[in-house]
């Protein structure tokens, strides 16, 4: 178990180094830091001066090392456009994204599992067929169209919910939350649905497929032959075996939820990291892009690591396998 965990941690560090190198390459070579900082008519002497002060004449590896150490200290340089530290910009917007992503994931998991189990157990019912059809449409509809549709319906036509922004927020230390105000909660509804819908249909289809697979297994047949109640078989044996892979996927999905938040945040002008990133791409604000890549990768890799380790804890077979390897 320990060896397995250790190996996974090392792997994660390896991935982060690769991503760090990519991020550094972008930061250093994609945009010319000098031309972004100095004015157009700066003399070449001035430029050289700045080059030196920024350490751009040092060997690349030294620069990479410096970049890495700085990144570890959460120092990503200055944004070209905002003229502010990137770290500060990201940190300001992180709570908005995390709150949105968490809400969407909780929504997607709850509904996805419920509907998935339902459609698997009542496979031939009208509602199950309808849900399966709707889920395919849900996967086909682009996220931004769903968002726009919701805005049109609930903000423009009905006027029930705010069409953009995060509503009023409350400050808790450095964290700003929208969960404590009515307008904050109201603002959260449509973005969460928009962001969660795709994941929900994904989880629903996955749960359905897994559950049908599990229901065909010998141990479920044997559980029937042992005379266990349908309830115990469906919601004990079958569900537990279904949820192990589903939770893994859903856990891994949390990472992509944060990435997909880019789209939702743009549609709803949600002041999160994703919106910041999209604006950075449009403005070619390389430091923000590089930093976003690093931060989001860190979140991904951490989640993957946790999910992997949790998975071995949940599944006794892997648990034992990992223990034997020790």
């Amino acid at each position: 178990m320990l060896a397995f965990t250790l190996r996974r941690v090392l792997q994660a560090i390896g991935v982060m180094i690769v991503v760090g190198a990519l991020s550094f390459t972008m930061f250093r070579f994609a945009g010319d830091p000098i031309s972004q900082i100095v004015s157009q008519d700066a003399s070449s002497a001035e430029r050289a001066e700045i080059r030196k002060s920024l350490g751009l004449d040092d060997p690349v590896l030294v620069q990479f090392g410096r970049y890495f150490i700085n990144a570890a200290r959460f120092d990503f340089g200055m944004s070209y456009r905002f003229r502010e530290p990137v770290a500060k910009l990201l940190l300001e917007r992180m709570p908005a994204t995390l709150e949105l992503a968490t809400c969407a994931t909780v929504l997607a998991m709850t509904l996805g599992i419920l509907l998935g189990v339902y459609t698997a157990l009542r496979r031939n019912s009208f509602l199950a067929t309808l849900l399966s059809a709707v889920s395919l449409i849900g996967i086909s509809l682009p996220t931004f169209l769903i968002g726009i549709l919701l805005i049109y319906l609930f903000a423009v036509v009905l006027g029930w919910l705010p069409s953009y922004g995060r509503g009023d927020t409350v400050r808790l230390g450095w964290w700003t939350t929208g969960l404590l105000t009515t307008s904050g909660l109201k603002s959260l509804i449509m973005p969460s649905i928009t962001l969660g819908l795709f994941q929900m249909t994904l989880i629903m289809r996955l749960v359905r497929a897994e559950m049908l697979e599990v229901l065909r297994t010998d141990y479920i047949r044997f559980a029937r032959a042992r005379g266990l109640t349908t309830r115990a078989i469906h919601f004990g044996h079958a569900l537990k075996n279904t949820l192990v892979p589903v939770i893994t996927v859903a856990g891994l999905q949390f990472g992509s939820v944060i990435a997909f938040a880019i789209i939702t945040e743009t549609v709803f002008q949600w002041p999160g990291m994703g919106l910041l990133f999209v604006q950075a791409v449009q403005n070619v604000d390389i430091p923000i892009m590089a930093a976003y890549l690093l931060v989001v990768s860190l979140i991904f890799v951490t989640i993957n690591l946790i999910v992997d380790i949790l998975y071995t804890l949940v599944d006794p077979r892997l648990h034992a396998g990992a223990a034997r390897r020790t």
Partner: protein
């Protein structure tokens, strides 16, 4: 009691070996004829391709040509509403662009980027998959590690990154055609992993077979063996992935364009049209966004249905 359900004709599972060739011969087309949904999806998909190809003949104007746009004709609602005006069947936008013509031309861009993007992704993936599977060892490890790392990130994020980097490298000197190429590149580099994995898997299986050993023995070069003997066996799954990915690629292009990182407004794709239309959502010109949105959703749904069906028909296990 595994044999309990043995009665003949109840078990639709097909044997795996060489299924692709045989399935394409008969079973798939038989199943296709029997599935109204698949036929419908195929017809809709083909129709989209047809109107995209013949757009210049069908459209009343060329929306990419600023000379053809009259500001006088701006914001005309669809023909059937009270203020409708011929020839603007689906109305026009702020710049006097006919919505239907814009959709037809936008469809061209969307499909072009989608098809080229998928083609590029498949090409990269197939080559890397062949190389990884055939040579194994360090090459294999390196390629598959990269694939693993990339797979942790959603394609849209990778595409956005590539887009941003290329833009900054070209310092915003971007005309429409370069932008189109950038989009194809972003999509190609975002979607290659699945092909590589599938092809590598097939190669690993085929590599151990006797006929490959025999081919090596008579001195055929590796590349010929791979192309002529190993690759055909992997084409079935690749086709399925390509179909499913076409929908994803079109969606990615639309999303990038919607986010403002894709096609510019001077040469709009469906995504760009939706981005433009989004600005008029509050002012009541719903048709500027509704019709492009509907077209995009229908197109993706049709291809998805087709891909879903194809996947089930070719191999239920590909899930």
């Amino acid at each position: 009691m595994t044999e309990m359900l043995a009665p003949d004709g109840l078990d639709p599972a097909t044997p795996r070996a060489g299924w692709a060739a045989r399935a394409l011969d008969s079973d798939v087309f038989y199943a296709f004829r029997r599935s109204p949904l698949a036929i419908g999806a195929a017809i809709v998909t083909l129709a989209f391709f047809a109107v995209a190809i013949f757009a210049p003949l069908l459209a009343v104007q060329n929306p990419f040509d600023p000379a053809q746009l009259e500001l006088l004709n701006s914001r005309i609602p669809p023909l059937w509403s009270a203020d409708g005006q011929a020839p603007f069947l689906l109305g026009s936008d702020e710049q006097g662009r006919d919505v239907l013509s814009a959709i037809l031309y936008g469809l061209r861009i969307s499909l072009l980027v989608g098809v080229l993007g998928v083609g590029l992704a498949a090409a990269i993936g197939i080559v890397l998959g062949l190389v990884a599977g055939y040579f194994g060892g360090v090459i294999d490890t390196v390629i598959m590690r990269i694939a693993d790392v990339q797979l942790t990130f959603p394609a849209i994020l990778i595409a956005l990154m590539i887009d941003g980097v290329v833009k900054s490298a070209l310092s915003n000197r971007l005309d429409e055609r370069t932008m189109l190429a950038v989009l194809v590149l972003s999509i190609g580099l975002s979607f290659w992993v699945q092909y590589a994995r599938t092809v590598r898997g097939s190669v690993m299986v085929e590599r151990t077979k006797d006929y490959v050993a025999a081919a090596q023995l008579i001195g055929l070069p590796s590349w010929t063996i791979m192309r002529r003997h190993v690759l055909p066996n992997a084409m079935g799954p690749v086709l399925v992935i390509a179909t499913i990915n076409l929908a994803l690629a079109i969606l990615t292009e639309a999303t990038l364009s919607f986010l403002g990182s894709g096609m510019p407004e001077t040469m709009p794709s469906l995504g760009t049209l939706i981005r433009i239309g989004n600005n008029y959502l509050f002012s009541g010109e719903w048709w500027v966004i509704a019709f492009p949105g509907l077209a995009l959703a229908t197109l993706i749904l049709a291809i998805n249905l087709l891909g879903d069906w194809l996947r089930d028909a070719l191999n239920p296990k590909l899930r």
